[in-house]
């Protein structure tokens, strides 16, 4: 009943992709969303490298000029090399965006940011805030927890 190595690897990489998507959809904090995107990219890169594997083959590097009998596919490896570096560059840019959002709004909870964004946009457009007729009259007091500076 032991799973063979292909199934283990597929579980691992698809598991990373799924956990990454879970994190993006279900988390409320911007920093955790950025970390979930990083997990998603790692899982996808793992899948790409797995697609070029052949059992019993050697790495595509010639040692001392001897050519091995069979080598794995070098094209997915070159593509994943590019993908990893691009992923980190985009993650760095996302963190800078998170820094600016924190400076502008003071909070990193996406629910509170959504409320503040709606208020800013409606103020800028000059229209009154849309109020639903089902809204309760007294809003519950939510404590904005600001991190210790």
């Amino acid at each position: 009943m032991t799973p063979d190595i292909g199934q283990v690897l597929f579980c691992g990489s698809f598991g990373l992709v799924i956990i990454g998507i879970f994190g993006i959809v279900l988390t409320n904090h911007l920093v955790r969303i950025v970390l979930s995107i990083a997990l998603l990219e790692t899982g996808a890169n793992l899948l790409l490298v797995m697609s070029g594997y052949r059992p019993g083959a050697a790495a595509p590097i010639l040692v001392d000029g001897t050519v091995p009998a069979s080598m794995v596919d070098p094209v997915p490896q070159a593509l994943v090399l590019t993908a990893i570096v691009i992923g980190v560059a985009v993650q760095a840019f996302m963190m800078v965006l998170v820094l600016r959002v924190h400076t502008a709004y003071g909070t990193l909870d996406i629910r509170e940011i959504r409320t503040l964004l709606e208020r800013d946009i409606t103020h800028a457009a000059g229209v009154p805030l849309p109020v639903s007729p089902d809204e309760p009259l007294a809003q519950p007091h939510t404590v904005l927890h600001r991190g210790a500076q």
């Binding site: 190595i5 283990v8 690897l9 579980c11 691992g12 598991g15 990373l16 956990i19 990454g20 879970f22 994190g23 279900l26 988390t27 409320n28 904090h29 920093v31 955790r32 950025v34 970390l35 979930s36 990083a38 997990l39 790692t42 890169n45 793992l46 490298v49 797995m50 070029g52 594997y53 059992p55 083959a57 050697a58 790495a59 595509p60 590097i61 794995v72 490896q77 994943v80 090399l81 990893i84 570096v85 992923g87 980190v88 993650q91 760095a92 963190m95 800078v96 998170v98 820094l99 924190h102 990193l108 909870d109 927890h145 991190g147 210790a148 500076q149």
Partner: protein, 97 residues
């Protein structure tokens, strides 16, 4: 594939999945950043077993080192490097009510 390679891959996949789940579950943000770096390290070990040393070197240097440093630096600038997640506290309170 040799026997020991199978066990290395099994352990690495287990470490990766545990690290991925703990990114979403851990309270402190710095711990979540470290868990992301652990996931990258596990992926780098698997790349070596899959006969891709170039990719393993890149993932270890870039995914673990550089991404971890950039995230930790940004956490420090946000002032969150010692804080817990307030949402976890709120869920605990609503559970006790």
């Amino acid at each position: 594939m040799q026997a020991y390679a199978y066990w290395i891959v099994l352990v690495s996949v287990a470490v990766m999945l545990t690290g991925a789940v703990s990114v979403l579950v851990l309270r402190q943000y710095m711990a979540a950043v470290v868990a992301t770096a652990v996931v990258s390290l596990g992926a780098s070990v698997i790349f070596v077993v899959l006969r891709a040393p170039d990719v393993a070197l890149t993932e270890a240097a870039v995914g673990t080192g550089l991404a971890g440093v950039i995230m930790a630096l940004s956490l420090r600038r946000l002032g969150l490097h010692r804080d817990d997640d307030p949402a976890h506290h709120r869920e605990d309170e609503s559970g006790e009510r």
